[in-house]
């Protein structure tokens, strides 16, 4: 609550002489300012266009927008180059192959393939010499678009104590860095063991559900010193 003195002070505070021509100088200064705006017009059915308050963007916003667009373009080009390179080159790394093999281990697991004893597998994708040809092996084409984009087949290998193993056989493409035989010490994760190797121009990936010992039970490697 303001008393009489407060009222006098309030009135006195408003009594300030405004310099002549201030408005003109301000308008002149504003006229020299560049503006970036997004004027919106609201048009009703029978109403005249109603100008809404315009949206002016400061100069730095435009610079940031341009810089951001440039960065996005570069990032997109890089991603495209990586994608095209990965797709056209068919270059597969071991880690990538193993990861994909274990990821797709359970895919189409319920699909019953052809018994190897009743129907031989396609000659283009033979069973590996490095894997024991256990009884009851079945084969089926790889699901979907193939394994890592390559055509091939999958051998389902029954193991002891209801363990499962899968052997992928696909076109190797230009994959490099793979050994010629499956590893005795496989890559293990999440209760799975896996290894990949190249054999006769094909890429083989063995994924076994279980410990490394179980994995090694599926191998058909010559006995000798462990490398």
């Amino acid at each position: 609550m303001k008393d009489c003195v407060d009222e006098k002070l309030a009135a006195a505070l408003h009594e300030v002489a405004v310099p002549e021509g201030l408005a003109e100088r301000l308008l002149e200064r504003l006229a020299g300012e560049p503006t970036w705006q997004d004027t919106e017009l609201t048009v009703g059915n029978d109403q005249p266009a109603i100008p809404r308050f315009s949206w002016l963007r400061p100069r730095w916003s435009r610079r940031w927008l341009l810089a951001g667009s440039g960065l996005l373009t570069i990032a997109g080009a890089l991603l495209l180059a990586l994608w095209v390179g990965a797709g056209s080159g068919n270059t597969l790394s071991e880690a990538f192959v193993l990861d994909e093999a274990m990821r797709s281990f359970d895919m189409r697991a319920d699909q019953v393939g052809h018994s190897l004893a009743e129907r031989p597998a396609p000659i283009d994708y033979p069973f590996s010499f490095a894997v024991l040809p256990v009884r009851g092996v079945r084969w089926r084409p790889v699901a979907g678009g193939g394994f890592l984009g390559h055509n091939g087949i999958v051998y389902d290998l029954p193991g002891p104590a209801a363990t499962r193993a899968v052997l992928y056989v696909v076109d190797a493409g230009t994959s490099a860095g793979f050994s010629a035989v499956p590893a005795r010490h496989p890559f293990t994760t999440g209760g799975y063991c896996a290894s990949a190797w190249r054999e006769n121009g094909l890429l083989y990936v063995l994924v076994v559900q279980g410990a490394p010992a179980t994995y090694r039970a599926f191998l058909n490697l010559p006995h000798g010193p462990v490398a």
Partner: protein, 181 residues
């Protein structure tokens, strides 16, 4: 076309509010030149950020808010921030002769003696006619701080403007005794 429209919007703000903004700026800065610079800064900022103004009827308080920000930013460049608990001892201040009316120059002189934080509250209270709560909300300080500072600032202003004839100033409710500077 659209550029002309936006300029017209900003121009409307200038035409309608430049006097109030200048007066506010003058009371804060105490200088004709600084006030005009600050006023120009306010409208340039408003020109750039005019999209943030959603309601035209709020234009004046919006401009005042810009003005406060510009003022504090400029003051921060000029000198270190003043301590907010700066005490005012009116006993040590020169006492002008009592006046019947209010001398505008003397009022500005008294305002200039106040620390920025105190002066801003005085202007918001008298010029902008903000309540204690509004001042507290806009400056983001406790309302008790607003009441305390205003009481001391008003006491100082009265002592300068009216001398001892008007007696002790009326304290705002809630301000503890002994706060008088």
């Amino acid at each position: 076309m659209s550029d002309m429209r936006s300029r017209m919007d900003a121009s409307q703000l200038v035409i309608e509010h430049h006097q109030a903004v200048y007066r506010y700026a003058y009371r804060l800065t105490g200088s004709v030149h600084d006030a005009e610079d600050l006023t120009q800064q306010v409208f340039l900022t408003a020109h750039r950020k005019i999209g943030q103004l959603r309601k035209i009827e709020k234009a004046r308080s919006w401009l005042f808010a810009i003005l406060r920000n510009c003022f504090f930013r400029e003051q921060g460049r000029r000198r270190p921030a003043l301590a907010v608990d700066l005490s005012l001892n009116t006993d040590l201040l020169p006492m002008p002769p009592p006046a019947e009316g209010i001398d505008g120059d003397r009022l500005q002189y008294a305002l200039n003696q106040l620390p920025d934080a105190f002066r801003l509250m005085v202007v918001m209270f008298y010029f902008e006619e903000c309540s204690y709560r509004e001042i507290a909300e806009r400056l983001q300080v406790p309302i008790g701080t607003v009441m305390s500072r205003l009481a001391r600032a008003k006491g100082y202003l009265r002592s300068i403007m009216f001398g001892v004839e008007h007696g002790p100033y009326k304290r705002p409710a809630g301000v503890a005794t002994g706060e008088r500077g």
